[in-house]
């Protein structure tokens, strides 16, 4: 869950430009295989979308559902860490 959230934060951090795979890879500290796996999972859950699937350059954006999820995750993260519990 933390990895997915880190990936989404990396995407959100790029704003309207969206984030490419390399940016997400370094932000979430992942291997290439894991990155692909998690990106597919995020797309399947409709938390992110690819800007232009046919294009060679891949750029990802958060969906509205993804933004909502990230807001909730951040809130849960703050709540948990207030009690000294890491998520």
């Amino acid at each position: 869950m933390r990895i997915l959230a880190d990936m989404m934060r990396a995407i959100q951090g790029e704003g309207e430009e969206g984030a490419g795979p390399t940016k997400i890879l370094y932000a979430a500290n992942l291997s290439h295989d894991r990155l692909t796996q998690y990106l597919d999972e995020l797309i399947e859950k409709e938390l992110i979308k690819e800007a232009n699937p046919e294009s060679d350059s891949r750029v990802y954006f958060l969906t509205e559902k993804g933004r909502e999820f990230l807001r909730e995750f951040v809130r849960i993260e703050r709540f948990s860490e207030a009690f000294g519990i890491e998520v």
Partner: protein, 213 residues
């Protein structure tokens, strides 16, 4: 005097009910967090607040049942109050132990027995918690507060401060209730301190949702 004590009880039960409600809200949120993250300690935290909430509402209901059913006279109220106070004390200790587990980094009272209790003593019996349970609760809570201090010292986050303040005031409420026989006014103070503690948790829930929205 008895009328004053009755007023006292109504107010303390109101405080207890509000605290119980806040504990329930924290339970719901911690459960939601556990469902999302799978972090087991959140489940422990949730269970702790749930047990606390049930204990508090149980005490409110039990106390009212005692007053309505038995009034201020008679021995038969003794068993009801004994059960309520022991169940209440035990539930709090259970909750505090769960808090101790979840957040790890990592009295002086006259016993309720005898056949010649006055109405005032019976009324006081609905206020006090079994002293030996109270001592255990205080010891466990000291551990919880220490862990909260460690967490705040390392994170320096305002959210951790709300948690520290919350547990501190709950600890304070237990220390105050232990002095109730010497100074009856301390009882309401203890209920008020407990309420402040739970309000701090409520503020935590509110602020975690509000920041940077």
């Amino acid at each position: 005097m008895q009328a004053d004590l009755l007023s006292l009880i109504r107010l303390d039960l109101i405080f207890e009910s509000i605290s119980g409600l806040i504990a329930l809200i924290v339970t719901i949120y911690a459960t939601k967090a556990y469902n999302l993250t799978g972090q087991k300690r959140l489940s422990d935290l949730s269970t702790g607040f749930l047990v606390l909430s049930i204990g508090m509402f149980g005490r409110v209901v039990g106390t009212w049942y005692f007053i309505v059913q038995f009034g201020l006279d008679g021995d038969s109220g003794n068993l009801v109050i004994s059960i309520v106070t022991i169940a209440y004390g035990a539930s709090r200790i259970m909750a505090y132990v769960l808090f101790l587990i979840a957040t790890r980094p990592p009295r002086y009272r006259e016993s309720i027995n005898g056949n010649n209790m006055t109405g005032v003593s019976l009324l006081l019996a609905t206020i006090l918690v079994d002293q030996s349970l109270e001592v255990v609760a205080i010891l466990v809570l000291v551990g919880v507060v220490i862990q909260a201090i460690i967490n705040y010292s390392s994170s320096r986050s305002r959210y951790a401060l709300y948690v520290l303040v919350g547990f501190f005031f709950i600890l304070l409420s237990h220390i105050q209730v232990a002095q109730t026989l010497i100074n009856p006014g301390m009882y309401l103070m203890s209920q008020f301190s407990q309420l402040i503690g739970f309000l701090s948790f409520l503020v935590l829930l509110y602020r975690t949702g509000k920041e940077n929205e």
